[in-house]
């Protein structure tokens, strides 16, 4: 049968962006827990 097309996730296609997102979210988390 036909294979459904995967939805493009532009953000996660870029490794540099993926790393930056991870760093940013970790920093936000650390800031929230230190407040």
């Amino acid at each position: 049968g036909p294979v459904p097309m995967e939805e493009d996730d532009e953000d996660d296609d870029d490794p540099e962006n993926r790393i930056a997102k991870k760093m940013l979210l970790e920093e936000i988390k650390a800031n929230l827990s230190s407040d």
Partner: protein, 94 residues
């Protein structure tokens, strides 16, 4: 340019950056408030500097051209704002 007009221009560029990025970070709604809080903690001298205008202008142009790297530019701006934060951590005494 005088500091007052630089500050106004920087504020306008920062708002534009926030508005653009908020459209592309909707899956992590905490990112934009975090960037905004960093901005609020930044030294007024830096906020009115040509250096900040250059960083903002570069990040804004790049993110608009390549929104697949939106977190790269947000992270870059956060790092710059952090480096010019008013609240300096006290050095640990030995």
């Amino acid at each position: 340019k005088d500091p007052a007009s630089l500050k106004a221009e920087n504020q306008r560029l920062f708002t534009e950056f926030l508005e653009f990025c908020s459209q592309h970070t909707q899956e992590h709604s905490e990112v934009i408030p975090f960037l905004d809080s960093r901005h609020q903690k930044t030294s007024p001298d830096f906020l009115a500097s040509a250096e900040f205008r250059n960083v903002l202008g570069r990040c804004l142009t790049r993110v608009q051209a390549k929104r697949s790297k939106v977190y790269v530019y947000i992270n870059e701006l956060c790092t710059v704002l952090k480096a010019h934060s008013q609240k300096k951590k006290l050095a640990l005494s030995s």
